[in-house]
């Protein structure tokens, strides 16, 4: 028998059968704790991510300056 979560005593065996027959394994809340293996980022991918990160930081400074200039 599948186990029940703490405080889940109202879950019946019919419910358990229903869950196991109608949901995919990864849909079960209890099994989502399994981590998906890490992916190694390639050089070009790292370059694009860092470039966009720097772009975002720079543009935030620009926006702050624009707001400051508008208020003064």
């Amino acid at each position: 028998m599948p186990s029940k979560d703490k405080g889940q005593s109202s879950i019946t065996s019919t419910d358990q059968e229903l869950v196991l027959s109608s949901l995919e394994p990864e849909q079960l809340a209890g099994l989502k704790k399994h981590l998906i293996p890490r992916r190694h980022l390639k050089g070009p991918e790292r370059f694009v991510i860092w470039s966009l990160r720097i772009y975002l930081l720079f543009m935030i400074v620009v926006v702050i300056y624009q707001v400051w200039a508008s208020l003064h």
Binding site: S3, L20, S22, P25, Q27, I36, F58, M59
Partner: protein, 462 residues
């Protein structure tokens, strides 16, 4: 049990002895049984029944993004530029939103994992926290603007600010009090459809349909290239494609329990949502176009001013509809954005995160959701806060934060280990690349106009 694409990667062997069944699972299983029954049916209405059961995340995310600041941006667009270039441009931004949001729906259906969770697991906590900081700041700022919109809209009816903020928080609590995703989704969908209230407002202004048709066909008259135009362009893009939408639709897709079999109808859900939201956005732009002659500027970006300004043209009833539309937009978005934050928080810290959870089992989920909204609401009550600039700022910041967010989405949607055969096709990758390049260039042009006005003038700007 059925197996999704992720099973190969996680190597899960579902041993029935190890499975912990929760109420969340049971509720989702009941929803899936109804979907399976509808899919097995034959007859003229069976497809509509199936579509009815599966629509939700796409419509909610699109109408949710037609939020307070978005509607105010569309209103400012109509008031500032009238009927012309911006009508087809707004529709184009929704086409971009479809390209982006389809990827999140596909990811959620294939992996049953939220966006934040996937970024953390696949790319590690370093990039995961960067994404979360972007999302957290963006969502919090956007929530503030939702309360600004609610305050401004209810202010039209004489409701004091504290009562407006309080009623929004009560609405939020009632919206999530059902502890059932399905009920929450259907209730919010019914309320979100009121976003189309801007259509009768537009009709009350008796628009020149010849000009409207001409604008859609020719994209003219064109606005002059100026910093004001760029801000409106960025605000309109930010009114349609923002980071919270990526996180929300993927998490809602997972919470609803969509699987790979539902992807086709998930696409219809997304397109349907975009069509409804585009109709409301275009209607808002048309509704305020008569104000074009009054040369309204960014200083008039508060919702209530638009309703008051429209009153001589469309009467008290029409103006009240406009103000109600702003309130509805803010109310719905305050719910979806709070939930988007709570989903992401739960995914990252591996705490229960579902609208199917009773409060006792989802304390952290509901606490994050409410505390975030309450803090944002409290900030709006600070006297003398430059609310106008906060509204303006939020949509611009949303556009600037999109390219980094989109790159992670792009990589995940093309990750064959995670997606299997459901990786993005070539055409989707091409369109997604165009969206990233377009958003980045729009941001760069805005940056040039601010820090190098001479270069901007050289490029033809004013």
């Amino acid at each position: 049990m059925n197996l999704g694409p992720l099973s190969r990667l996680t190597q899960q062997r579902v041993n029935q002895q190890d499975v912990v069944i929760t109420h969340e699972d049971v509720d989702r299983a009941h929803d899936r049984v109804r979907v399976s029954a509808a899919r097995a049916q034959r007859g003229p209405f069976s497809k509509f029944r199936l579509l009815w059961l599966l629509v939700g995340p796409g419509i909610l995310v699109m109408l949710g993004e037609n939020d307070g600041p978005s509607m105010i941006s569309y209103a400012a667009t109509g008031a500032r530029f009238g009927i012309g270039f911006f009508l087809p441009f707004v529709v184009l931004t929704f086409c971009m939103a479809i390209v982006v949001q389809e990827m999140t729906m596909r990811l959620g259906s294939a992996t049953h994992r939220g966006h934040a969770e996937l970024i953390f697991d696949r790319f590690g906590p370093f990039w995961g926290w960067f994404s979360m900081i972007d999302l957290g700041i963006g969502n919090f700022l956007t929530l503030i603007t939702e309360f600004i919109a609610i305050r401004a809209g209810l202010g039209f009816f004489g409701v004091p600010p504290w009562a407006a903020v309080g009623s929004a928080l009560v609405f939020l609590c009632l919206a999530v009090a059902m502890h059932r995703y399905w009920t929450w989704e259907r209730t919010l969908l019914a309320i979100a459809v009121f976003n189309l209230i801007f259509v009768p407002v537009a009709l009350l202004t008796h628009p020149n349909w010849h000009s409207v048709g001409h604008a859609f066909i020719t994209w003219k008259p064109l606005p002059g290239l100026s910093q004001d135009t760029l801000i409106i362009i960025l605000a309109d893009i930010g009114a349609t494609v923002t980071p919270w939408m990526l996180f929300f639709q993927q998490s809602a897709t997972v919470d609803k329990g969509l699987t790979t079999k539902d992807i086709h109808l998930g696409r219809i859900d997304t397109v349907l949502g975009a069509a409804l939201a585009a109709a409301a956005a275009v209607a808002t732009t048309i509704a305020t176009a008569p104000l074009f002659v009054h040369h309204m500027t960014a200083e008039n970006f508060q919702g209530a001013e638009f309703a008051q300004a429209l009153q001589p043209l469309i009467g008290r009833f029409g103006a009240a509809l406009f103000a109600l539309g702003i309130v509805e937009a803010g109310m719905v978005a305050s719910v979806t954005i709070s939930i988007s934050s709570a989903y992401a928080f739960g995914e990252v810290v591996h705490r229960p995160h579902s609208l199917n959870l009773p409060v006792t089992q989802g304390k952290s989920f509901y606490s994050v959701l409410f505390l975030l909204a309450a803090t944002a609401g409290a900030i709006v009550l600070i006297p003398g806060l430059p609310l106008v600039y906060v509204v303006l700022l939020v949509n611009v910041v949303a556009v600037l934060a999109m390219p980094p967010a989109l790159v992670f989405l792009f990589m995940l949607a093309n990750d064959r280990e995670v997606m299997g055969d459901l990786v993005s096709p070539l055409w989707a990758n091409f369109l997604a690349t165009c969206v990233v390049v377009f958003l980045t260039l729009a941001g760069v042009l805005f940056g040039v106009s601010v820090i190098a006005p001479n270069l901007f003038a050289f490029l033809g700007g004013k």
